[in-house]
Amino acid sequence: MIKLNKLYAQVVLILFASVFTSLLFNQLRNNSLPFVKTKVEVVSVLKKTSSKNSESSIIGIDLELAKNLFKENTLFVDAREKEFYNEGHIPNAICFDDFDLLLEKLENTIGMDDQFIVYCSDSDCGSSEDLSYELQSYGYTNILLFKGGWKEWTDANLNQSKHE
């Protein structure tokens, strides 16, 4: 017969060992993840200083600001799966298919302190935010997060491209 107390103690020990090791490993790795993500604040106007930040930042932007930056030819990165990108995306947006490929494309297009915008499906999707944090951990310091994403963009009948 299985002794329940012993079983529970073993379960707790395995859980404790896993939590302890994972936290330790996360702290020691170069690009450690924050244990809990902080909420990104959405702004309508960018402060002048934020275009060349000395400190790394991720700033949420609304549709109006995304439109204005699009007109200024700011680079967009589409954080959705490739199949959704192919169905339609913001013109000239880079497709996030493979992280290494994306890094290569970004390196060939912009500098580490240059501004660019990341978006995904809508305000509920988390992939743009996750990608932003990942890019931030690789040294990009001026990332804008278009929270409304593709849904808000298409709802506003703005320019769209399809992948040929």
Binding site: Q10, F25, F35
Partner: protein, 145 residues
């Protein structure tokens, strides 16, 4: 008890452990990717995707090593079975909600949620139940059981 049970048990332990170790490998190397895959399920309150992405792969690794090495076999079988039930609930809710997403299981690149994944998890769950229920073990550390 059937004399062959301990041998079936050890065979299943190697399969379960192997799957868990294989599954955790990519997640430990690239937790950010795993975070995105968790986000796609739309079930985690904001921010906790990271917490899960940091801890879960290591739990899978400890379970995998433990169950293969014959350390805390019942506890590891219980934990792995519980995780598989949880994974199936997550996959099923994603299917019901119409999400065509990668399962984030770490076994096959690009594996999507679907009945195949549910069946795979359910088969492993049955293996975990067998291991948990078998009283006589083979190739294990008596001191750690």
């Amino acid at each position: 008890m059937n004399k062959i049970y301990p041998y079936i048990n050890v065979f299943l332990r190697f399969i379960i452990g192997g799957v868990f170790i294989w599954a955790c490998h990519d997640k430990i190397i690239d937790p950010s990717k795993f975070t995105r895959e968790i986000s796609n399920y739309h079930v985690m309150p904001f921010g906790l995707e990271n917490t899960v992405a940091i801890i879960l792969p290591w739990l899978e690794l400890f379970i995998g090593i433990g169950i293969i090495a014959g350390i805390y076999i019942n506890a590891n079988a219980l934990l792995s079975g519980s995780l598989l039930i949880l994974f199936n609930i997550l996959v099923f809710q994603a299917m019901v909600r119409g999400f065509n997403i990668e399962c984030g299981c770490g076994l096959k690149e690009g594996q999507m949620v679907g009945y195949g994944k549910l069946f795979e998890n359910f088969s492993l769950l049955l293996a975990c139940i067998f291991v948990f229920k078998t009283k006589e073990h083979f190739l294990y550390f008596k001191k750690f059981n």
